[in-house]
């Protein structure tokens, strides 16, 4: 029988590739949205209050002692942020020989274990036989092959990888190792170094060469021992010879004087190029620090520089002697989305090489601009408008204003959000055509600028919902006017239907959701003021699926507001209702057949009769949607956020107490960051 047929070979290749696939790539996936954030947090323990904070970063570099001192906290961080990458910090060329006498000795389990096994012939010594110190309290270790062998015939550059593999990586707590201080040379550490232990001062060139070879050997050994499923990062001046063993490096104290001549353009060039030499996945960390936590300009400059390339993670903390802060900045809260351009110089658009200039990079949700020149730059956008971040820290920059030009100080940068004021950004939630929309987060902070929700082609005050109801990846626009719902796709009217048989011509509350699991969305309607509390459900073609149900007394004529929520997390959406003006503030939840599922709750005082507008959205990004309400009239415009079981989570005023009435609440994730914004609309202005 002929077995080497092309068909059989293909099958064999498929099977083989299946078995070998995990070994071909790391299990770690780096995110493709920005900003990417790293925290260089070198405390040996993690306090409980720091857990939730640290879980917000994408990459954590934690001291290796954390695995012994704060194992539970480490696990909790992973639980809070399953996508987080956590690297164990270790120094490659130094150790605290006197760790037992250190005030932190009780927290230095691994260090003591390491020091216990350091053979005296591994210390880096000078020609007089004294150990060399480069950092207070530590002595340098000899990474060259000139180091002596211990009783196990190991040198330091062989022992350290073994220690890492057996004592750290084997715990399963880490995604990789972070080697601090891997320099391409060592002659800077002293003028009389004797790395080959021949009691003679080593020649500089030979010394540096041996050092680099020894470091490479350590890195290679590390990779061999821990395999390709773990990351290896290094910190120190970028040395090209190491990069193939590393997944990335840290540019500490950006822009550091020791790195690439210390100027921004050269460092950025190195930053850009280094990814070509590193292993994948590629994680490069740009770390800036300043003892002034509020040096926002420096933060922006470092972050924006990081954002010029794909592979960078930004870190900001106190100093090189105190990396251990959980400082969080307004810029960190912004979802820039995915990158849609490479970095380009607004002052010299044809030159892609990093030079001093006004550099810009565009993302789906924002643009980043950095002024690396030595003077203030004025730039006027041509037919572009942006929103500044509406932050709470540096209001001189992040004040939420809409702009069409910027004046950027030297060595400063800014993140500019794309304007939200395009109505097509409101999806899957109904709005009244012409309403002015204010955008809030769950804390009542106006995160984005307001805008007019107005589509010129449809009647003012008609109710509109934009959603892909037929699941073909093209959105339909549903418009209610005079009791007729028209469905448009690509501005072409597909069909129309009368949800209440033409008997009710007023305002409707609209919602869409796949209630029956058929893959397309049903259209849920509630009659507005003047109509009964009649909820009806139609398929995508406007065909009535059930007779509907009365959410409240059928003789009530204040109408009913509708929204949908998956109450019990079973993947099936339930219908949630609020009574219109004249009814009590009773929020009720029904299944698609009109069966009341819970007793509901009163969103406001039970004697209030001004009507309740409601919406549903995941306002805190925890994967669970909340119920959001606002009184339509008579009360202050107090937005309330309820859990599914009717408990108040938050509340805030959407407008001044003197502002009119006719409020509507909606919710949608406008900036695709996984957190729904709360939208409050009013026709009066």
């Amino acid at each position: 029988m002929k077995i080497y047929t092309p068909k059989n070979i293909l099958i064999l290749l498929f099977i083989v590739s299946f078995f070998y696939w995990p070994k071909l790539s790391l299990a770690i996936e780096t995110k493709d949205t920005y900003p990417k954030l790293a925290n260089y947090f070198l405390k040996w323990t993690i306090a409980d209050y720091e857990v939730e904070e640290l879980a917000k970063w994408d990459v954590l570099i934690l001291d290796m002692e954390v695995q012994e001192n704060s194992r539970a906290q480490l696990l909790e961080i992973r639980e809070l942020n399953p996508d987080i990458v956590i690297l164990a910090y270790i120094t490659s060329q130094e150790a605290n020989a006197d760790i037992y006498n250190s005030e932190w000795s009780s927290e230095a389990t691994l260090r003591k274990r390491l020091v216990n096994n350091i053979y005296d012939g591994w210390w880096l010594k000078n020609s007089s036989g004294s150990r060399v110190s480069n950092w207070p309290g530590t002595y340098m270790l000899n990474l060259t092959d000139g180091a002596k062998l211990n009783s196990n015939n190991q040198k330091w550059n062989e022992y350290l990888p073994k220690f890492i593999a057996e004592e750290i990586i084997s715990t399963g707590l880490w995604d990789g190792i972070f080697y601090d201080n891997i320099w391409g040379d060592v002659a800077w550490a002293g003028s009389n170094l004797d790395a080959d232990n021949n009691n003679q001062v080593d020649a500089v060139a030979t010394l540096n060469s041996n050092w680099a070879s020894g470091t490479k050997k350590m890195l290679q050994t590390t990779r061999n021992l821990i395999g390709d499923n773990y990351l290896i990062l290094g910190n120190g001046k970028v040395y090209t010879g190491y990069q193939s063993f590393l997944n990335g490096v840290m540019f500490e104290n950006f822009p550091a004087s020791w790195e690439s001549n210390g100027d921004w353009a050269s460092i950025l060039t190195t930053y850009r190029n280094i990814k070509n030499n590193n292993d994948t996945p590629n994680i490069t960390i740009i770390n800036s620090y300043d003892s002034n936590r509020q040096n926002y300009k420096k933060i922006r400059y470092g972050l924006a520089s990081t954002l010029m390339e794909n592979h960078g993670y930004f870190s900001f903390d106190f100093s090189n002697s105190d990396h251990g802060q959980v400082w969080w900045y307004d810029e960190y809260n912004v979802n820039l989305g995915q990158a849609v351009s490479s970095a380009y110089n607004l002052l010299d658009k044809n030159n892609t090489s990093y030079t001093k200039g006004l550099w810009r990079r565009d993302f789906t949700e924002a643009s980043v601009i950095i002024n690396s020149t030595d003077k203030e730059q004025l730039y006027i956008f041509n037919n572009e408008e942006f929103e500044r971040i509406n932050g709470s820290q540096d209001r001189s920059v992040n004040n939420g204003s809409i702009i069409n030009y910027i004046k950027l100080a030297a060595k400063d940068a800014i993140i500019l959000l794309k304007k939200t004021s395009t109505i097509t950004t409101i999806k899957n939630t109904g709005f009244n055509n012409g309403d002015y929309i204010r955008v809030f987060n769950k804390d009542g902070h106006q995160t984005r600028s307001g805008f007019f929700a107005y589509l010129d082609g449809y009647s003012a005050n008609s109710q509109i919902i934009i959603s892909d109801i037929d699941n073909d990846s093209i959105e339909e626009t549903l418009v209610n006017s005079n009791g007729i719902i028209s469905i448009y796709k690509n501005n072409i009217k597909l069909r129309e239907f009368k949800p209440y048989d033409g008997k009710f011509k007023g305002e409707l509350s609209l919602a869409v959701a796949d209630l029956n699991g058929d893959g397309t969305k049903e259209i849920i309607t509630g009659a507005g003021s003047g109509g009964g509390p009649h909820v009806r459900i139609f398929n995508q073609f406007g065909k009535l699926l059930t007779g509907g149900f009365f959410a409240y007394d059928k003789n009530f004529r204040g109408g009913v507001k509708v929204a949908v929520i998956d109450l019990n997390g079973d993947g099936t959406q339930e219908i949630i209702t609020g009574a219109g003006s004249g009814g009590g503030p009773h929020v009720r939840i029904f299944d698609k057949d009109g069966r009341s599922l819970t007793g509901g709750f009163f969103a406001y005082d039970k004697n209030f009769r001004g009507g309740v507008s409601l919406a549903v959205g995941d306002t805190d990004g925890n994967g669970q949607k909340e119920i959001i309400t606002i009184p339509q009239s008579q009360l202050l415009p107090e937005v309330k956020i309820y859990s599914k079981d009717g408990k108040v989570i938050k509340s805030f005023l959407a407008y001044d107490t003197t502002f009119g009435s006719g409020f509507r609440v909606m919710s949608d994730d406008l900036d695709d960051d996984g957190v729904y914004e709360i939208l409050v609309g009013a026709i009066s202005f």
């Binding site: 006027i380 030009y405 204010r438 307001g450 107005y454 010129d456 005050n461 026709i683």
Partner: protein, 622 residues
């Protein structure tokens, strides 16, 4: 074609032939060349069965056989004729006997007796009909079918389980001899006053002959559903206001909803205890047996000496609309002895505008009129009258608190004064007219006479206004505009313009607001048009906001849009206009008057924007 035996006379056979009537125009073609006794047949239109004969002419099935018997028998012997006649008569008598005998026989088989519980019926009253029946023989397949009068509304029947609602019949089945029973029908009767109505019961069974046995009951509608009676003063003066009381009684046993009572075009209703709509009184609902007295204030609109008023009533009864007439009332009309006439030359007026009225008076009696007092007030309750001034010679006339006192007038004495006043609006309603109402009171021969006179009507012109405001920040502090503030040379600063049009009053049409954008102001086509539409022409830099029709009342209309200013060096230090030559026109559909207005230019100082007002002077940013 079949041939007859003697070939001289065609056989008439419906199986073979179509019989064509002689005047069938569809197949007959007139032929002027032929004799009048003959016709020509269109062969294309005549369809004859295959193998059939065609007969043309008159066919007489009775005379032809008699003619044949006459030729054969009667001509020869008259006794044949007598015998034939006798024989035919014998057959006829026999047939009649059979029919009558059968009728008499079946009628005795069943007894039917109808009763009614109320002989004095008003339209809408509830009534019960009972039918007592007795089978005098065994009957099978017995049914009683009920024929109800028109508009009778069945409420219940018994025995209900025997009753078929679709055929209005009771299925009694097989009844033994001497079986008795009763059928009862409850419902309400409806009809015009004096209508005679009938209910009938028809008993059918296998033994009841072809038509069955029937019994009937007649009754009369003696009272209308709603009884109306209009009570007024004995004498009403021509074209004057009068008071009256309309007494309405619901004679029916039913709740009446949404009834309208129209007293006719010669009575203009002004005020009433009930709502007045389209000059008719509206009764929301009236329970059975209830009487209501409605106070009226109306104007008589006829010059006749008398007026017969027959109210026309429409009412919703059990979901159906019924129309009927109320009781007649005749008004006696007289012309006032003291003739007073109020008129204004103005046609359309603005609110609060001074209106001049001429009041003419003349004593047309032959005796003096004394104690003459004319009390003036607004004839439209949505307005109040401001103090009146007499602007002409007012000798022998005094005015105080809008009451004019005229000294005694001799017979045939007359006079005239000119008054000036204005009105305040109490309630904003569309399409209103102003009129002055005068209550004239005087004494004549010791009798006090009082009547009302109204002036001609002045249509009130709608109050309209428009505003144009520009904002960088909304009144609530939201940023609407974008760009440097104050504006800077060669840099774009955008603002939002809010146009608003207010109408208080009448229906309007063809509203157009136009404006011009200065040279360095641009229209980016971002807008929010809540009413009407906005058109912009870049060539002339002209903008138009149009609303084809505007409903009356008190409403405002809005359109907002963005404009963008890019100042040039020549603008440095100036406060440029953003919108200029802002004008509007609109036609008042009620008065026909064209209304217009002009709004001052909007500039970058944004006087309405409390957050950025005053930051309009163009600067330069380096």
């Amino acid at each position: 074609m079949k041939k007859n035996k003697n070939n001289s006379k065609p056989l008439i056979n419906n199986d073979d032939l179509e019989i064509i009537p002689p005047n069938n125009s569809s197949v007959i073609i007139e032929d002027e060349n032929t004799n009048n006794d003959t016709v020509c047949i269109d062969r294309d239109k005549v369809k004859v069965k295959k193998n059939g004969n065609l007969v043309v002419g008159n066919v007489n099935l009775i005379l032809n056989p008699l003619k044949k018997r006459n030729d054969k028998y009667y001509r020869n012997n008259i006794w044949h004729l007598i015998a034939d006649i006798f024989f035919v008569l014998l057959i006829v008598v026999f047939v009649i006997f059979i029919i009558f005998a059968n009728k008499k026989f079946t009628k005795d088989n069943v007894s039917l007796n109808i009763n009614i519980d109320n002989k004095e019926l008003s339209s809408g009253s509830k009534v019960s009909f009972t039918l007592d029946y007795q089978a005098n023989i065994d009957t099978t397949n017995s049914f009683i079918k009920v024929a109800l009068p028109d508009d009778f509304i069945i409420e219940s029947v018994s025995p209900y389980n025997y009753f078929n609602t679709s055929t209005n019949s009771f299925d009694l089945g097989d009844l033994k001899k001497n079986s008795k029973g009763q059928i009862k029908i409850n419902g309400s009767v409806w009809g015009e006053l004096h209508d005679r109505q009938m209910i009938s019961f028809n008993y059918t069974c296998d033994q009841c002959g072809q038509t069955g046995i029937s019994n009937y009951l007649f009754y009369d509608i003696s009272q209308p559903v709603l009884e109306t009676k209009l009570l007024t003063e004995d004498i009403i003066y021509t074209n004057s206001e009068f008071k009256g009381i309309l007494k309405i009684t619901n004679n029916s046993d039913t709740l009446i909803k949404k009834a309208t009572i129209d007293l006719g075009p010669d009575i203009e209703l002004k005020e009433s205890d009930l709502e007045i709509k389209d000059n008719a009184l509206i009764i929301e609902e009236m329970a059975s047996g209830v009487s209501q007295e409605i106070n009226l204030l109306a104007i008589l609109k006829t010059d006749n000496n008398s007026l017969e008023i027959i109210p026309e009533i429409n009412a919703n009864i059990s979901g159906d609309i019924y129309s009927f007439l109320g009781s007649s009332t005749t008004l006696n009309i007289e012309k006032p002895n003291l003739a007073v006439d109020l008129s204004s030359d103005q046609k359309n007026v603005n609110l609060n505008e001074k209106i001049s009225y001429t009041l003419n008076y003349k004593n047309e009696e032959m005796v003096p009129a004394k104690d003459i007092k004319i009390t003036l007030s607004s004839g439209n309750s949505n307005f109040s009258l401001n103090p009146i001034k007499i602007t002409s010679d007012s000798k022998n006339i005094q005015i105080d608190d809008n009451i004019i006192t005229i000294n005694d007038l001799a017979a045939e004495e007359s006079g005239s004064i000119v008054l000036e006043t204005s009105f305040d609006q109490r309630k904003i309603k569309a399409n209103q007219s102003l009129l002055l109402k005068a209550n004239v009171e005087y004494r004549l021969d010791g009798q006090t006479i009082s009547y009302n006179v109204n002036s001609n009507q002045n249509k009130l012109i709608s109050r309209v206004s428009a505003t144009a405001k520009a904002y960088y920040y909304s009144p609530q502090g939201d940023q609407l505009g974008v760009g440097p503030l104050p504006p800077a040379v060669d840099m774009a600063t955008s603002y939002w313009v809010f146009l608003e049009f207010n109408n208080s009053g009448n229906d309007l049409k063809n509203f157009v607001l136009t404006a011009e954008l200065p040279d360095n102001v641009y229209f980016p086509n971002e807008k929010r048009v809540l009413d009407g539409k906005i058109i912009y022409g870049e060539i002339g830099k002209r903008l138009a906001w149009e609303i084809p029709s505007i409903l009356g009342g008190n409403n405002n209309y809005q359109a907002n849009f963005k404009i963008s200013l890019i100042p040039d060096e020549g603008d440095l230090g100036t406060i440029p206009d953003l919108l200029k030559n802002i004008k509007f026109t609109v036609t008042d559909a009620f008065t026909g008057q064209e209304l217009s207005g002009q709004i001052e230019n909007i500039n970058t100082n944004l006087k309405n924007d409390k957050l950025s007002s005053g930051q309009g002077r163009v600067t330069i940013i380096n």
